[in-house]
């Protein structure tokens, strides 16, 4: 009776130990650093947006920024700080709430890891080693000190893993209260992880695979009737699919309700979406109802996240079709999106445009006509090039377009905002089309516009008239059909995914490669470049990271040896290895720009594996020989000792350093620059 009790007591002690250590370490430096750094410009600003309720666009789902905004709001931050460029001083602004929130979530990681490893390996040593690894890692500390999404993301990932492991342990008591509790908690954490960043998908995959294996073994249990199995299945569907989905949708609902003012993100979304936002020109819009000759209009592509038809003074470069003025699709609102509607013969008597009419679209700023001809389009070679041609109304027959209302008949009027319109090129019979491909540098990375000879009706070839200015016609208040919530949800997701894949590395920007990460090849500069500045450098504690790498290899070797020897695979560690793989390998296939901090979720898993391997190590050796055993204990002990030591050596990286750079022998960090690629 007393034995388990004592054990629990010990457990509690050990849980508190790592937690306290990290909490202290984190909080110490928080208030020292009064200027903000790197991505804080980004996420801090978004927190402010929530407080000011202005609509913005970001490639990540909203939960993380909402929580940051909430933390700021609770602690009295008023959302007025501009967050212009890294390194500015906060001055009188109340920023500690947002940082404290992130830091407190970050300091939950070691205790979570401790509990997870304890559950998986039933060994205190392993759990302690893991907790120590995470607590003394400079990288983890640095990343959880600032207003970033990563500490929040890692919190939810670790939470999901912990509750999943706990749930696995309840296997023999199905449908009991703790069983339900851990199941639901897993689901909640999953939705949280996905709600912060799309990287959360990987942990969902991990939990999904684990659940599938679980269900597979249940299915093979012939004592269980199919009815019972159905119950198991349905409860998991509820806890791990429906509930997270519901929570995730709720997050977005809150996001849309909170952000109801027009802001910098409007142009990414469809006209219908914009009409929701207070302050947008489409909110309770008032304009002439039917498209007329002589009007100034903007034309928006109906593809989700399609841009406005746009042109500018620049020409297509040599070798890309005819060397005429570029016509593109542009996602932001701009005076270059304005077009004039003309008759082919220039007599602009105010009449309405009808389905089947031939028009000429003139770019307001440059007075060039929308033009197409039989040259290849720049990227979509199957289509024709669209250019701006002619000047001040003169042009050629290739400037004529036929207006067609989708589903309309000859003579129908063209409704502003509500009609889907296609523009058919008179001479070649092709249709104005936005392919969604981004033009290279010469096209300012705007979206390609082509003329497609394939006349199938797709959103890419449909456009709507968004702004409509005509002084000769009366303005009528238009109530645009308000979009359904699910439509908004879908639209914002597609916009986010497009945005994410559009984050291509620029030429001058440093792009970190996935193979750099596990070997700790290069860190990330958080703030400060020069000797006089206060510098923070995100870099994992090299001793710990290299230890992680070694134990990963060791684990694979051990599994291979054991499986060949007795045809059994080792339990427990496999889950962690899988987690590491799932959070690391997909980055190799990603085309977007990558940063060092993307590795941190994977690093959590490899740290937990380290704990498990080091603990396994003496046991395995015990079978082989006692002489080795003593030596391995010695190794273990020295490893444990080396962690705090190395942490002490490298702590200025995360808590900030001043003075000369490390290659200078006078620096406090002199001699610690073990790799040339480190830049502190």
């Amino acid at each position: 009776m007393s034995r388990p009790r004592r054990r629990i007591q010990r457990m509690i002690d050990f849980v508190r130990l790592p937690r306290e250590v990290t909490v202290c370490l984190c909080i110490i430096s928080l208030c020292d650093l009064i200027c903000f750094s790197w991505d804080e410009t980004h996420f801090g600003k978004m927190g402010s947006y929530y407080i000011n309720r202005t609509f913005f666009f970001d490639v990540h789902p909203p939960l993380g920024k909402m929580l940051i905004g909430l933390a700021g709001y609770m602690t009295g931050y008023d959302g007025t700080y501009p967050f212009l460029k890294p390194g500015d001083k906060y001055e009188h602004h109340n920023y500690w709430g947002m940082r404290g929130f992130c830091a407190s979530l970050g300091s939950c990681l070691p205790p979570f890891a401790y509990l997870t490893v304890l559950e998986l390996s039933q060994s205190l040593t392993a759990a302690l080693i893991t907790a120590a690894v995470l607590a003394f890692d400079t990288g983890c500390i640095t990343i959880s000190q600032y207003i970033l999404l990563d500490p929040i993301l890692m919190f939810f990932i670790m939470g999901a893993v912990l509750s999943m492991v706990k749930f696995n342990r309840q296997r023999y008591r199905p449908f009991s209260a703790p069983w339900w509790f851990w199941l639901v908690l897993t689901g909640v954490n999953l939705s949280g992880a996905l709600g912060v960043k799309f990287v959360g998908l990987f942990v969902i995959l991990l939990v999904g695979l684990n659940t599938a294996r679980d269900l597979w073994s249940l299915l093979g249990d012939l004592h269980l009737s199919l009815m019972d199995f159905g119950k198991h299945l349905l409860s998991r569907v509820f806890g791990l699919i429906l509930l997270p989905l519901f929570l995730y949708v709720t997050i977005f609902a809150v996001h849309f309700v909170v952000l109801n003012k027009s802001g910098p993100g409007d142009g990414f979304f469809s006209s219908a979406f914009q009409s929701r936002l207070i302050g947008n020109n489409l909110h309770n819009a008032s304009m002439p109802e039917y498209l007329a000759y002589g009007s100034v209009i903007t034309v928006k592509n109906l593809r989700i996240a399609g841009g406005y038809l746009h042109s500018h003074w620049h020409l297509y470069p040599e070798g890309v079709g005819a060397k005429q003025q570029q016509v593109t699709a542009y996602l932001h609102k701009d005076y270059n999106n304005m077009w004039l509607v003309h008759r082919p013969n220039d007599s602009d008597e105010p009449d309405l445009v009808r389905h089947g009419d031939i028009i000429r679209l003139e770019h307001k700023e440059t007075t060039r006509n929308l033009h197409s001809h039989l040259h290849e389009a720049p990227l979509t070679k199957k289509h024709f090039q669209v250019t701006g041609y002619g000047i001040n109304g003169t042009g050629d027959p290739n400037d004529l377009w036929q207006v067609e209302v989708c589903g309309g008949q000859k003579g129908n009027l063209v409704k502003v905002l509500r009609s889907k319109v296609r523009f058919l090129h008179r001479a070649t019979g092709c249709v104005l089309y936005s392919s969604g491909k981004t033009l290279p540098k010469w096209g300012w990375e705007q979206v390609e516009v082509t003329c497609s000879p394939y006349l199938k009706e797709t959103p890419n070839s449909q456009w709507n008239i968004e702004d409509h200015i005509n002084t000769k016609l009366p303005n009528i208040s238009l109530s645009v059909l308000k979009p359904h919530f699910l439509e908004i949800l879908l639209e914002s997701h597609i916009v986010m995914i497009r945005g994410n894949s559009g984050l291509k590395p620029k030429d001058n920007e440093m792009n970190s490669k996935p193979w750099h990460w596990p070997i700790n090849y290069q860190g990330l500069r958080f703030s400060g470049v020069n000797e006089t500045e206060y510098r923070v450098y995100l870099l994992g504690n090299p001793v710990i990271w290299w230890l992680n790498l070694v134990s990963l290899g060791l684990y694979v070797v051990m599994v291979a040896a054991a499986s060949l020897h007795c045809r059994v695979l080792l339990e427990g560690g496999g889950l962690l290895l899988l987690g590491w793989l799932l959070h690391y390998v997909p980055f190799y296939t990603m085309g977007r720009i990558l940063y060092y901090h993307h590795y941190f979720p994977a690093m959590l898993f490899s740290s937990m594996l380290t704990g498990k391997v080091i603990n396994l190590h003496p046991k395995m050796n015990f079978e082989i020989g006692c002489s080795l055993f003593s030596s391995s204990v010695y190794i273990c002990f020295s490893l444990c000792l080396s962690k705090p030591c190395s942490f002490y050596m490298f702590h200025p990286l995360s808590y900030g350093m001043r003075g000369p750079l490390a290659h200078d022998p006078d620096s406090t960090m002199a001699g610690l620059k073990w790799m040339d690629s480190w830049e502190f």
């Binding site: 299915l219 093979g220 979509t380 070679k381 199957k382 060949l564």
Partner: protein, 706 residues
């Protein structure tokens, strides 16, 4: 002694007549009228260049992949006695009489037709009946896209042949009685063919991984089977993997090793650092140089001349100067060497060398023939508005030599700038007529060996890449005598630094280069995305008759593609339902059948997946023909699924299934017949008939407006 030999000596031969018939049909369908069209078809323009390079024994870096495939094509060229003299610059260009079209296309067509019996064997080896195997072979036989792809000088059919052979031989190895020597032979054959497949295209690697995985699973089962000694089973597995990788190494290394020393500098792209190594930077009087046109349209080439004169009268009746031809030649050749000569002085570089500067007047002497570069007021052969450029021969017909050229460095930073190797872009302006030496872009007819035309352009304005040249190879000449100079020109320009590299380092560098060379990521008119392939939403126009509506398209047999997709879906459904029911210990089918179904799934569905899914990760330009290896495996799944359904169906449905199979086969045949004019390019169809063949809006079928 002789008693030990039993008499009479008898050879028993069993001939599977079905197999013979199927092979014959395959040969007939792939080889029929293979000479037609006698023009460059689609990617032949691309492979043709490599074939020419191989037949001319010129080393090059092949950016497209491993060399075995090109060597196989070059072997065909060798059989036909092709001399490599054809300029592959335009799809649809007529082949000249020196190109043995038949033998160039023979090997891919043979490989493609041998795939038909291989399909038959594969299905038999999977444990299915001969009737099923016949079905598989027939379906494969009547697949229009595979026929089109194997009738031209393209590599897919060769790849598919090796893939199928690898799978068949692995299955033979697996099914054979243990400890027979034949068994080992099959294993070796698997390794060799896998290596060949990888050698043809890197895609073959994925099928190799699939087989390796299959072998690993089989080995794993053997380890569990304690009756066998672990050592032997493990041995066979390691044997397979080692064998394959070593053969891969041999394959890919071999050809490069023998060619490496000949002329590494002929690399078309990226070899610049190597070329500049050890060359003098400043061009001086007496320098021996090769001049490369800055414009790479229609192709990169070097200023060239040879011992042949312009014909006195062209086909259209215009006359010429009958002086020596000057052309632009897209291959490395000793005839590309020119000597920069100070007018009226010797040909060697003085010491110290006198550099040539912007604005200097020079003469250009052709190294091998000692003719001076000349232009005069005679219309150029192909572009009559421009002047002819020739190597001056004095015929004593009051046509004086006009061979002085002014050096005009286009990208100079200062006046008096020195002409530098590679870096300087130079215009050569004729002193007498102020014409500019320029690549006209058209190619000469037969008498000019189809090389590219070089003209003197009098109305040259602004910066045109076609009128700008740079010095690529360069050395200071030392020999005064013609004979000595010829020897000098034949020797390489610089110390071959590759000699210092070890063999393996060279190999690795080359592999790395091949894998990392950037492909142009722009879109092609007929490129498509992998998603469009499953439903065949796209096609490729391979060839269009220059005058009529006869055309060849890569369009598959629509019925077969649909059936294959259907079969895959049915297979997945069957597999899942059996799997779940077996887990509940409900055994619908006996264990042996289940294993058979599983193995067929791994080979066919797995083969489809490994040859298809990786394309989603690739960022290069993709075409419909990339799907063909995957399609091959998918087609094999149709008869497999059908036989399984047939065996495990109640009797009444069975009869219905017979009907369905018959109907399916006949509709496959009908659709094959319908599209065969687009497959074989003949007979010519009318515009209405072509329009009726456009089953999908997204297919580009070409109409000629009359």
């Amino acid at each position: 002694m002789l008693t030990s030999i039993k008499l009479p000596i008898v050879i028993r031969a069993e001939i599977n007549l079905v197999l013979v018939v199927v092979t014959a049909l395959g040969l007939l369908s792939r080889l029929y009228g293979i000479n037609f069209p006698k023009a460059v078809v689609f990617d032949e323009v691309y492979y043709g260049q490599f074939v020419s390079l191989y037949t001319k024994q010129v080393f090059f870096i092949d950016e497209s992949g491993p060399p075995l495939g090109h060597m196989i094509l070059a072997f065909g060229a060798y059989l036909g006695g092709f001399d490599g003299n054809f300029i592959w610059n335009r799809i649809g260009a007529e082949y000249s009489s020196n190109v043995p079209v038949w033998s160039l296309r023979l090997i891919p067509a043979l490989a493609g037709s041998l795939c038909v019996p291989l399909c038959y064997l594969l299905v038999v080896e999977l444990g299915y009946s001969h009737l099923t195997a016949l079905g598989a072979a027939l379906l494969f036989l009547m697949e229009n896209s595979l026929i089109v792809q194997s009738r031209f000088m393209l590599l897919e059919s060769v790849l598919i042949f090796f893939l199928l052979l690898a799978v068949v031989s692995y299955l033979r190895f697996h099914n054979a009685q243990s400890d027979s020597p034949v068994r080992l032979a099959w294993l070796v054959l698997t390794g060799v063919t896998c290596a060949c497949a990888v050698g043809v295209k890197y895609m073959g690697l994925f099928t190799y991984f699939l087989l390796l995985g299959l072998a690993a699973v089989h080995t794993w089962q053997l380890i569990g089977d304690r009756a066998l000694s672990n050592v032997s089973s493990l041995g066979s597995f390691f044997c397979l993997s080692m064998n394959i990788s070593s053969v891969v190494l041999m394959q890919v290394v071999g050809p490069h090793d023998q060619m490496m020393s000949s002329a590494f500098q002929a690399s078309l792209e990226g070899g610049l650092a190597r070329i500049t190594q050890g060359q003098p930077l400043e061009v001086a009087y007496g320098s021996q140089v090769t001049l490369r046109s800055v414009s790479s349209k229609p192709m990169p080439c070097w200023l060239h001349s040879h011992k042949a004169n312009y014909p006195i009268r062209y086909e259209n009746g215009r006359g010429s100067s009958h002086q020596q031809q000057v052309t632009c030649y897209p291959f490395k050749d000793v005839n590309n060497w020119w000597i920069i000569k100070d007018p009226g002085r010797y040909l060697v570089v003085s010491s110290p060398p006198r550099p040539v500067r912007h604005g200097d007047v020079v003469q250009l002497l052709h190294g091998m023939t000692s003719r001076l570069l000349n232009t005069h007021d005679v219309a150029a052969p192909m572009s009559p508005h421009a002047q002819e450029v020739s190597g001056y021969i004095d015929f004593n017909v009051s046509m004086p030599a006009q061979n002085l050229w002014k050096v005009d460095i286009a990208n100079r930073e200062a006046e008096q700038e020195v002409w530098k190797t590679i870096l300087s872009e130079v215009r050569l302006i004729h002193i007498n007529t102020s014409a500019v030496l320029k690549l006209s872009g058209s190619s000469l007819p037969e008498w000019g060996y189809r090389q590219l035309e070089v003209v003197g352009d009098k109305i040259y304005k602004g910066y045109q890449p076609s009128g700008v040249w740079n010095v690529e190879e360069h050395r200071y000449g030392t020999s005064q005598e013609q004979r000595e100079r010829e020897l000098e020109l034949h020797s390489p320009t610089h110390i071959d630094i590759n000699r210092n590299l070890t063999f393996i380092a060279k190999f690795l560098e080359l592999q790395w280069k091949m894998l990392t060379v950037k492909h142009e990521d722009s879109e092609h008119k007929y490129s498509s995305s992998p998603l469009e392939w499953i439903t065949m939403n796209t096609n490729i126009a391979y060839w269009l008759h220059p005058a009529s509506n006869a055309q060849i398209h890569l369009i598959g047999n629509f019925v077969t593609w649909t059936l294959a997709n259907l079969a895959l879906a049915v297979y997945v459904l069957l597999f899942l339902s059996y799997l779940l029911r077996r887990r509940r210990k409900i055994e619908d089918i006996p264990e042996a059948t289940w294993c058979q179904l599983l193995q067929a799934g791994v080979v066919c569905a797995g083969g489809w997946a490994v040859n298809y899914l990786p394309f989603f990760m690739m960022e290069k330009t993709l075409f419909l023909y990339h799907y063909l290896p995957a399609l091959t495996f998918q087609i094999l799944l149709i008869p497999v699924v059908l036989e399984h359904l047939h065996t495990h169906m109640c009797a009444s449905l069975r009869r219905a299934l017979h009907g369905v199979v018959l109907a399916g086969l006949s509709s496959v045949y009908l659709s094959f017949r319908t599209f065969s004019p687009l497959t074989y390019g003949q007979p010519e169809l009318s515009a209405e008939q072509l329009a009726s063949l456009r089953w999908r809006d997204s297919w580009d079928i070409l109409f000629r407006r009359r």
